[in-house]
Every structure is written in structure tokens, then in C-alpha cells.
Subunit: 80 residues, 2 copies
């Protein structure tokens, strides 16, 4: 199964890359852009046929390695 883990900074944590992207979009003429947050996404191929187990594994990977839970939160989804 393929799973996706999306890691974002928690609300309130400063996000300089997101700010830079927002400024760049304004410069390009996208005037209606408000807050921008930048994060990471990790797609993993798991040798696992059960979607619930695959997702539980992805959750565990997020907790152990993929996200820094002090400043980041993550969500997981099973893609296929």
C-alpha cells in the first residue's frame, strides 16, 4: 500500500519559508493570497495489504521519525 504522511508546523510556530512564498506570490501579482504555510510530505510504499495496519504504521513512523512533535503536527492517509 502507498501511504502519505503530511507534516506541517503547528499553528503559532513561525514559518519563514511560508512567509517567503507568500511575498513571492504577491510580487507575481497574486494579490488575494493570505497566510501561507509550508510543510513536508513523505510518500511511502509499504509491503502491507491491510489499509488500517498500513495507516497505523504510518502514524507510528510519524511519531518516531517523520515529524518533530514539539513544533510540528502530521496527518496520514492511505493512497492505494
Amino acid at each position: 500500500m502507498k501511504v502519505r504522511v503530511t507534516v506541517m508546523l503547528k499553528d503559532g510556530v513561525l514559518d519563514p519559508p511560508g512567509k517567503a512564498i507568500g511575498h513571492a506570490l504577491h510580487t507575481l501579482g497574486f494579490a488575494n493570497v493570505g497566510e501561507v504555510r509550508a510543510g513536508r510530505v513523505i510518500e511511502l510504499e509499504l509491503d502491507e495489504t491491510d489499509a488500517a495496519r498500513a495507516r497505523a504504521q504510518a502514524d507510528e513512523m510519524g511519531r518516531q521519525l517523520l515529524a518533530n512533535l514539539v513544533i510540528e503536527s502530521f496527518e496520514t492517509e492511505v493512497l492505494a
Copy 2:
């Protein structure tokens, strides 16, 4: 509306961060992890009430700034 742009390296483009994550997960005991791809996600607040227009704008931002279309592809979705 809130939109999300997910940027991934195209298939066939080397992804050293993805490889590093895969190795780290194996070291942690996640033995059934296959290919790992790492990408970026950008969440944007748009001052726009029409979902189709918001998505069209996000597509344009992806083409102009957020993705390097030589080596990356991107997808957009409207979150709310």
C-alpha cells in the same frame, strides 16, 4: 478558501532525502518500507469564495512559482 499544493519529484528523478528517510525507517525496525519519496506541501489562504477559481489560481501558482516543472510535478486541492 484554503488550498493545498503538493509538489513531488517526478518519477525517475533521484530523491536523496527520500532514500535517507527510508534507511532511517529500516534502522528503526520498519522492515516493510519500500520506496520513499519526499516532497513539499504549501497551504495557502486565498481571498476567494469560488472553489473552482481558487483551484485555478493554485494551479497557476504551481506553474509559476511553487514547482520546478523540469523535475517536479504538483497537484492542487481545495481544503475548505
